[in-house]
Structures are given as C-alpha cells and as structure tokens.
C-alpha cells in the first residue's frame, strides 16, 4: 500500500503534458476565488467566528466574577452540571412551549392577514400601514404596555376574560404559574404577526394570476386553488420565515424579562432568560456559556431538520 503510494507519487513528479494545464485549472477554480474572498473571510472570521469560539471555550472553563482566582479549564464539568440541572429542563420545556405557540399563532394570523391584504378594498393603503405598526414599536415598550393591560387594577384584559367566563375572577394571569406564559405569548403574537404578513404578502404577490384563472376554468374550488397553487408557491418562503422566526423567538428574552422576569417560580423562565440570570445575577459566565451552547446546538439541529424537510418536500 505504502509502496504503491510512493510509486504513484513518483509518477506525478515525472513531468507530463497534462499537469501544467491541470494545475492552472486547479488554481483557477480552487485557490484563486478564495484569494478574492479573503478580506471578507477574514472579516467574517474575526466578527463572527472568533466570538463564537471564545464563547464555546468559556463553557469548558470556570469563570465566576466572584471567584476571580478560581478560573481555569474544567473540561465537561459544566455540561455534567447542566444535565442534572432541574431549572435547565424547565427552561427548555418553556422555550419549546413559548416558541411553538408564538410561531403557530403568528404564522396563522400572519397568513390570514396577508391573504386579506392581497385583495382589493377601499382604504387598503391605510390599513396596510396600521397593520405593520406593532412591528415598529420597541419591544420594551410593548412589554410594559401589555404587562399593565394584564394588571386588573389598571388594565381591562382580566375583566374581559372574567366576563367571558375564561377566568373565575379578574386576576392577573402573569401571577398564575399555569397561565403566566400566555401573557408574553400574547404580546409576542401581537408583535410578530406583521412580520409574517409582510413577507408572505410579498410572496403572494409574486404568484402569477394566470394560474388561478386556469384553475377556475378547470372548475377548482377556492380551497383547491389555495392548497394546490398558493401553498406550494408560498412553501419556500414559509420554510425560511418560520425557521428565522423560530430562532429569533427562541432567543428572544425581552418580552418575558420585562413582563414576568421568568416567574412566578420559573414558570416562564426560558433558556435565554436563564442564560441572562446566570451571567448577570449569579455572575457565572462559564455556566451561562454552557447553557448558551446547549441552546445553539438545539437551534442548529432544528435548522438542519427544517432545511432537509424543505429539500425533500418542496419541489420547485
């Protein structure tokens, strides 16, 4: 085997007519482009990769601001701690719950809104501008507003819910561990619907009208033209927006942080709020990085699965 390799190498050193051309081809297609790209690669490397590597390296170290002399490499100690950390699993479960229901309603309502805005009606321009307003409101402000809306002393929502019979009495759901997560989710839905509406509306407007006309001539029902034309054309956009929003929402701690602070009793603690508390309250940056790496891995796996599904299911 080794002998063969030597012979092979000996062969290649013998100059033959083709290698010069092949080398220049190799140079042209494999090396040269990277030279042109090198400034960008360096920039991206220094701006994105370096912090990522540093962050991941923190998770294998003990970095506590209060024990500045006890820093050092600890191997997988942080990860072992994470595995048996009850709060981590609670936060993970809450993250999935929070992300799924936020996305679910944002997407459905956003799609409905986009379909409505895709028709012609009087005052459409004004309506369109109003619809996109929540997206422009600073999250901190919307979180505070929603928090007070849910407060029975000042806000109307608990009284409406009680009048509808959803609640037994007008109390603040943000203080109820079983319902608290729905407060931030509501605020998040209000905040995120416009994003889906904007992107899906753009995709809807690019579907050729002839397709619908042809379908109508062939006697398709509205439901059939929705499922056979609209959805397949929207699918790539749906896949990419759902993926983007999922990653954003899973990392999105502002609303929860302002509205409930992760409480009561960790019932609204998601991974990103837990990372924040660990880093800035416990001042334990090593462990905070470990949780962050876990979140990163989960989101990467999710993105890979979604992209794979898109490749398999969407044939465009």
């Amino acid at each position: 085997m080794a002998g063969k390799a030597v012979i092979a190498r000996a062969k290649t050193t013998v100059v033959s007519g083709g290698t010069g051309a092949r080398r220049s081809l190799y140079w042209q297609y494999m090396v040269e482009p990277f030279l042109y790209l090198s400034p960008m690669i360096l920039l991206i490397g220094s701006v994105m990769l370096m912090p990522l590597i540093v962050g991941i390296s923190y998770s294998f170290q003990s970095i506590e601001l209060l024990n500045p002399f006890a820093t050092g490499w600890v191997g997988f100690e942080n990860y072992e701690k994470l595995w048996s950390d009850r709060k981590f699993w609670i936060a993970l479960e809450n993250t999935v719950f929070w992300t799924f229901w936020s996305i679910f309603f944002q997407f459905l309502l956003g799609l409905g809104l986009a379909m409505l805005l895709n028709t012609q009606f009087f005052g459409k321009k004004l309506f369109q501008a109003l619809v996109f307003l929540p997206w422009a409101v600073p999250t901190f402000l919307s979180a505070l507003t929603w928090a007070w809306l849910f407060n029975p002393v000042i806000g109307p929502i608990p009284h409406w819910l009680a009048a509808l019979g959803v609640l037994s009495e007008p109390y603040n759901i943000l203080g109820d561990p079983d319902l608290a997560i729905w407060g931030p989710i509501t605020a998040n839905i209000w905040f995120g619907v416009p994003f889906f509406a904007i992107t899906l509306l753009a995709a809807l407007q690019s579907i050729p009208g002839e397709l619908y006309e042809a379908a109508e001539i062939d006697g398709a029902t509205p439901w059939q033209s929705f499922t056979k034309i609209t959805l397949p054309f929207l699918a790539p956009m749906i896949a990419i927006t759902v993926m983007l929003r999922t990653i954003w929402i899973a990392n999105f701690a502002d609303l929860i942080f302002v509205m409930t602070g992760g409480g009561p009793a960790n019932s609204t603690q998601i991974l990103s709020t837990y990372i924040f508390t660990t880093a800035f309250r416990k001042l334990d940056f090593g462990y905070a990085s470990t949780i962050a790496v876990a979140l990163l891995i989960i989101l990467l796996a999710y993105a890979v699965i979604l992209l794979w599904m898109r490749k398999r299911l969407v044939k465009i």
């Binding site: 500045p68 009561p264 960790n266 416990k282 001042l283």
Partner: protein, 418 residues
C-alpha cells in the same frame, strides 16, 4: 439678523465658558425615578455653580437593570467617578478593591464630625470607609384606616393580631389583608417574618450556621405561606414587585403594606392623609420585631483621575442641608446628628418609623450584605424558591433548608477571607 447675531454671540460665550470646565465628573445614579433625578440635578447644579471648572455628567440607570449595567460599565473600562452605592453591592465593589477609601477625606471634611455613628458604621467595610450613606430605609407597616374600620379590627400590634386582621379584611368583597410582595424585592418580608417568629435577627450562630432553618424561622416562613394560601393576600401578589404592592395599597385592594419611608411619597400623592397611617412592624412571640434597615450612599471609584474633585461632589451631596432636602424628597431617614428635630419629620406619618427607632422592642435588621453572593441570593434565589413555596410546590421547611445551606456556605467563604 439681530436675532441671528445675538444667537452667534451667545453661542460664542457658551463655548467660551465651557472652556473653563476642565474636569468632567461622571456620576451614576442607580435607584432612579424622574423626581429623584430632579432633586439630584438641583444639588449638582449648586455644586457646579460653586465649582465653575467642573462639569458633572449624571447617568441614570433604571434600578431594574442597574446591577448588570454598572457591572458591564466597570468591566468595560467605562468607570464612573462617583456612584450611588446601594448597601447590597458594597461588599462586592469594596471587597474587590474597586472603591476609594474615604476615611481621610471625611476626617478633613467640615461636616464629617456630625455624621451619626450608625452612618459611619454602615458605610465602612473591614474598618475603612468606602461610602457616605445618604439615608436609611426602615421598614414599617402602612395600614388602610377605612378597610380596618369596615372589617371592625384595630391596628395590629402582634403577629397573631396581624394574621387575624388580615383574615378579617379578606372577608370583605374583593379585598385582601396583606399586600404581599412575592416578586422582585420580596426578600425583606421573608427575613422579617422569620426573625419575628424566631425572636432574633442574628443571621448566624456563633459557629457560622445560618439560623434560617431553626424551628422559629420556619414558623415565620410558614406564617407568610399561610397568609397567601389562606387567601389573605391577592392571588397575583405572588409576582408583585414594588409598583404593584404600592398600587395595590393605594387602590384599596389590600389593607396592609410593609414599606420604607420612600413609599410614603407615592402613597401621599394618591391617598388622603386621613385614610392611612403607619405603625411599627408587628412583634412576634418574643415581644420583639425586627424591621429591616437598608441604606445607600455615595462612593468613589478608585480608578477616578480626579479623586479630590469627586470627593468635593460627594461632600456637596452629603452636607447637612443637601442631605435634609434629599431625605425629604427621596424618603429616607437623614444621616446627620440633630436632623430628626426638623418639624417635617415630627408628623403622624413618620410616627411608625420613629417609634421603631426609639422603642426597645424594635431591633433594626441589617441584611448580611458583606456576603459576596447576597445580591444573587436576594434577587434570584429567594425570588424563585419563595414563589415555588407560595404556589404550594414545596414546604416551608424545604425552603428554609435551602436558604440556610446557601447562607452557611457563603458565611464560611466570607469567614475564610477575614
């Protein structure tokens, strides 16, 4: 044209006068409210007028994020000269050698001698002065006169009275007894209840064991759980912070509120003086109560390039007259001797606090802020675990054991450094 010329000359004069200001001091305030910033600004304006070569830049951090914001500023090298230092962070910053010693400065200061002993003691750490406290927050019990009259109960003096009165008020339609603080900042409540039932406010025994899980303390924690679980506090109080308990009190949702003098400002604005009064904290079985006392003050970072100028600013903020104004507007007990003779503090509204200050059965409790992770304990550990207990997910004993273990560990760490 004339206007334009005047504008030009004014601008020129302004830039001219700005050229005198050679020193810029960065002052960070962390317990922020618009009213408070106004008072601070007015005292600072006076200082700037007296020192034309100094400009003071005030940075207001909202209390909710102040801890991490300041920590981030300091870690990033953007270190302020003067900072408002709450008692809970003093150990962290002074212990890590970030703060300048003020002992020599105060010795040379004309008003240094009139600072009360308590003030100097509280501002000191390991025998050196690192902050000049600007006042004290002492806990006392506000009560809603109308609700108590309606329920037919007298203002409570003992813990048993307090439970009975809370129960009586809760009988009223849509009313609750106690404005319980289950959310951020609730630690003081738990500590006071535990101490009142345990008959001592020592946090540790001689051999450094936390007293948090002694039977008396557990009873105190159970007392609080009973208040909530029997419905003597509003259902959503489990997540109430400062704004919510104060709103709950002045809206007449709940009848009792334990708070510091600073809450008086917010409540006086929204409630007629004859509708509420302030009494001392109810005493436990031992005949004693242990209202928590807190404080904050002005500190100087060691990294400052203008230590003397920075101290002049701290001195201006801490001078008797400025401190008196500050105490009245911010709602704290002032720090200079003789300040309590001011007629402002001799009203019925302050009666509860001065009774506590003068009565033998009331022992003010200082939190063990010298423990490095006390801030984390108070802001996060107590918050999360106590909410679990209030919601019935764990027992008082379980809670007490976890807290005691944490505090005993921290105390051992602290002891090792002494």
């Amino acid at each position: 044209m004339k206007k334009f010329l005047t504008g030009i000359t004014t601008a020129a004069m302004l830039t001219g006068s700005a050229a005198y200001a050679e020193t810029t001091l960065k002052l960070v305030e962390v317990i922020t409210s618009p009213e408070r910033t106004k008072v601070l600004q007015s005292i600072v304006d006076g200082y700037e007028a007296a020192n034309p070569d100094v400009t003071v830049e005030i940075i207001s951090l909202p209390w909710g994020q102040a801890f991490e914001k300041l920590a981030t500023m300091v870690a990033g090298g953007d270190i302020p000269d003067v900072v408002e230092m709450p008692d809970t962070w003093q150990a962290l910053y002074a212990g890590s050698g970030q703060l300048a010693s003020l002992s020599d400065h105060v010795a040379d200061w004309e008003h240094g001698a009139t600072l009360t002993e308590k003030t100097v003691a509280m501002g000191s750490q390991a025998g050196d002065l690192y902050m000049i406290p600007y006042g004290f927050y002492l806990r006392a019990m506000f009560y809603n006169k109308n609700l108590l009259a309606e329920a037919g109960v007298a203002p409570p003096e003992t813990m048993a009275d307090f439970m009975a009165a809370s129960a009586a008020v809760s009988e009223l339609e849509g009313k609750s007894g106690y404005c319980l603080r289950g959310g951020p900042g609730g630690t003081n409540g738990w500590v006071m209840m535990a101490a009142a039932m345990n008959g001592t406010n020592d946090f540790f025994t001689e051999d450094g064991k936390s007293r948090m899980n002694e039977p008396g303390s557990v009873e105190g924690i159970q007392f609080m759980l009973d208040l909530y679980q029997n419905g003597y506090a509003p259902k959503d109080a489990v997540s109430w912070g400062f704004n919510e308990i104060v709103a709950g009190f002045y809206s007449g949702t709940c009848a009792f509120l334990d708070q510091d003098p600073d809450a008086l400002i917010a409540i006086s604005e929204r409630m007629p003086a004859e509708d509420f009064a302030v009494i001392p904290m109810p005493v436990g079985p031992s005949g004693k109560a242990f209202p928590t006392i807190g404080f904050a003050g002005w500190s100087i970072f060691k990294a400052t390039a203008h230590e003397d100028k920075a101290f002049d600013l701290v001195a201006a903020l801490s001078a008797p007259e400025a401190n008196g104004t500050w105490a009245k507007r911010v709602g704290v007990i002032p720090v200079h001797k003789g300040a309590d003779q001011d007629p402002y503090f001799q009203t019925e509204q302050f009666e509860g606090w001065f009774k506590e200050l003068n009565g033998d059965q009331y022992e003010p409790t200082t939190m063990p802020t010298y423990l490095e992770r006390w801030g984390y304990f108070a802001s996060t550990v107590v918050l999360e675990t106590s909410q679990e207990a209030l919601l019935g997910q764990r027992s008082a004993q379980d809670l007490a054991d976890e807290w005691a273990e944490f505090l005993t560990d921290e105390h051992a760490k602290w002891q090792a450094k002494q």
